[in-house]
């Protein structure tokens, strides 16, 4: 049996394979709501301290310390304050919150109750992307079950604390994962980001103090409260404490969710996933979704924690490890991601709206082998004009894959001046099924998106 230096640390994913894993009954059998019972015996500020001490950092990508975020709320002025859970998981490659909410939604519900208690919120919202209807059913049901069992509603567990939860379905817009765009969307508007400051902690939902946290962050709270900050902090690295879901996808034998301490390496994870698909080798990968600069085989041993990934030139992001082998065209991959950003740009600011449009045009001709002299410089120059100048992080994220791909695979972009990517890297070799490539007549509208 293989020896592993780092081992998995399943908490949120510990019982996803049990029958009816999503029900309250299964959750209670696995220690569910022990965290809440303990929390309700404590002062709210002590729970904030526990989360600060645990070192939990936002699991939605940015990695901001969760307890500190809660601590930013101004003193109680008697008016409402809100918790809004960001369940709009849409970052390409990111696929952790959706299976968590489908398999064990009560982690999130219990986390919502404890977090709301800690920050003095009596009405919390879960903003779920609309394109996952069965997850919405499971969340609605989980809330129903929690109300029926007295974990939500009036006087929760006899504590005098009241909480209502509304589960809200979005309608398809990546930008709504940006926390202020999410708030605008939840207020029934177009999902466009707001100018910060004021930050949501001061003026968030309905201009009231609001905490916006990612699903996995909130779902991690119950076990931290139940088992103690020291338990959580004993996992991970000095500044990236705890565990998290690592999502492996692409050209590995067993793609999936691997819940591990922060600081595990891709080499270890690929090993756990059975290795690369037979006869192939790693070419490039994203450490945390498409908005994080790509890595190559030389980064296999970078500890996957916030600091180490940052020092190596990327970001831990959402631990969305999209893995591509040597059959894959970097130009094709980057062009498609860029088409995504152009499609999802909300249009509010010029650098992102216009910049992603032009990046798409240049990349498309490079992919077709019709690039012209100076295209690489145009791409880098355009990225330079977006990065740091866009209204929100979407624009910055759009440049990451382009600049990093040119850094590591410049020759493939140069080849785009004369040879189509599909000749250099026939798509049939990258696909996970066998097929005979056909000459197809493109239908009207087939390319539009």
């Amino acid at each position: 049996m293989t020896q592993y230096n780092t081992v998995l640390a399943p908490v949120l994913s510990a019982f996803w394979d049990q029958p009816n894993s999503w029900t309250l009954a299964t959750y209670l059998e696995n220690g569910g709501y022990e965290g809440l019972k303990k929390a309700l015996t404590q002062k709210p500020e002590d729970i904030v301290t526990t989360i600060k001490d645990s070192g939990l950092r936002g699991r939605g990508g940015a990695g901001f310390p969760t307890g500190m975020k809660w601590g930013f709320l101004p003193p109680d002025d008697g008016g409402p304050r809100y918790l809004v859970v960001n369940a709009d998981e849409s970052e390409p490659g990111t696929c952790k919150d959706i299976p968590l909410m489908m398999a064990a939604p009560q982690f999130l519900i219990e986390g919502v109750v404890i977090t709301s208690y800690a920050i003095g919120c009596n009405h919390a919202f879960i903003y779920l992307r609309g394109e996952v209807v069965h997850v919405y059913r499971r969340l609605l049901r989980a809330v129903e079950e929690a109300y029926a069992a007295g974990y939500l509603g009036k006087n929760i567990q006899g504590s005098g604390f009241d909480l209502d939860v509304t589960v809200h379905a979005g309608a398809g817009a990546y930008i709504c994962g940006e926390e202020t765009a999410l708030l605008d969307s939840l207020e029934g508007r177009r999902g466009q980001p707001r100018l910060k400051p004021p930050f949501p902690a001061v003026a968030g939902l309905y201009s009231r103090p609001t905490v916006v946290n990612n699903v996995e962050s909130v779902a991690s709270v119950p076990q931290i409260v139940a088992r103690g900050a020291e338990w959580f902090a004993s996992m991970g690295t000095e500044r990236s404490k705890g565990n998290g879901l690592f999502s492996l996808s692409g050209h590995v034998k067993r793609p999936g969710q691997y819940e591990a301490p922060l600081g595990i390496t891709l080499r270890e994870l690929i090993d756990m996933a059975g290795g690369m698909r037979e006869g192939h080798e790693l070419k490039f990968w994203t450490p945390g979704g498409s908005s994080t600069p790509i890595f190559t085989a030389e980064h296999l041993d970078v500890p996957l924690d916030y600091e180490s990934v940052g020092a190596a030139g990327s970001m831990l992001g959402t631990r969305a490890l999209q893995i591509f082998d040597e059959t894959t065209s970097v130009v094709r991959a980057v062009t498609r991601w860029t088409e995504f950003y152009a499609h999802e740009s909300c249009g509010k600011c010029t650098p992102c709206r216009e910049g992603t449009y032009w990046l798409k045009q240049v990349l498309r001709r490079l992919e077709q082998g019709k690039g012209v002299e100076g295209d690489i410089e145009t791409l880098l120059d355009t990225c330079d004009n977006i990065l740091g100048r866009a209204f929100c992080a979407l624009g910055d994220g759009a440049t990451s894959c382009i600049t990093s791909a040119i850094k590591y695979f410049r020759e493939e972009f140069e080849a785009g001046m004369h040879t189509p990517a599909s000749e250099l890297f026939p798509p049939v070799r990258s696909a996970l099924f066998e097929y005979t490539p056909k000459q197809r007549v493109a239908l009207a509208g087939a390319g539009a998106h």
Binding site: A14, H134, V167, A444
Partner: protein, 265 residues
Amino acid sequence: MTANIDSSDTSARHSGYDAETYERLVQDAQQIIARYPVARSALLPMLHLVQSEDAYVSRNGIEFCAEQLGLTTAEVSAVATFYTQYKRKPNGEYTIGVCTNTLCAVMGGDEIFDELSEHLGIGHDETTEDGKITLERIECNAGCDFAPVVMANWEFMDNQTPESATQLVDDLRAGKDVTPSRGPHKICGFKAVSRVLAGFNDGRADEGPGAGAASIEGTKLAREHGWTADSAKLAPSGDDQSEVAPRTGEPGSSAERPAGKDEAK
């Protein structure tokens, strides 16, 4: 903000709906509005509700939302046109969305889309003449470990091939029930799913699996090796450890306790 609907005065305006439909929609809308402290927050679910009636965001639906929420039709249209799930023309009974974002595209999603497009004779955002299938290229749907992914009315069809996707659309067009990979017993119609998205659960939450095979790869591996989140050394703590919930299978967990003590069973 909520415009109060005086039931005695509804004959004047039904937003183009017949009186019976209108009354039913008003009842639903009032339930939706009641979920929020500010009425306008109900707009997104109400647009899903409109789609559950008309299979798209119709002119009537826009007027209805505006009237219920005290907005102008321009304000409602501005929101409706921002989000890709809101349709501007009648949708087919099933939206077949092929993920062609990078990961799925490279794993075969591009070929699946091309095959379906050719098989159905339609392109992106077009509907078959029988009104059954609307084909779409979709962005990442958070199922990357099951690539290539196809969403059928927003239910997961995992690990697809051109053959399986073609079979899917043929079965749906033939009126056969199809079970998604991770979802309820059958893929429901566009209008029914839109009603769920408006926040009206259809009682199917307990159907289907908790997780797909890829979702539990790590869970299985950890169990095989006996790895737990306590494999890491615990720092000594002054905390009252006795209140900490025991883990499954350990002394004191539900597996060890007499069944009668477990209130949830």
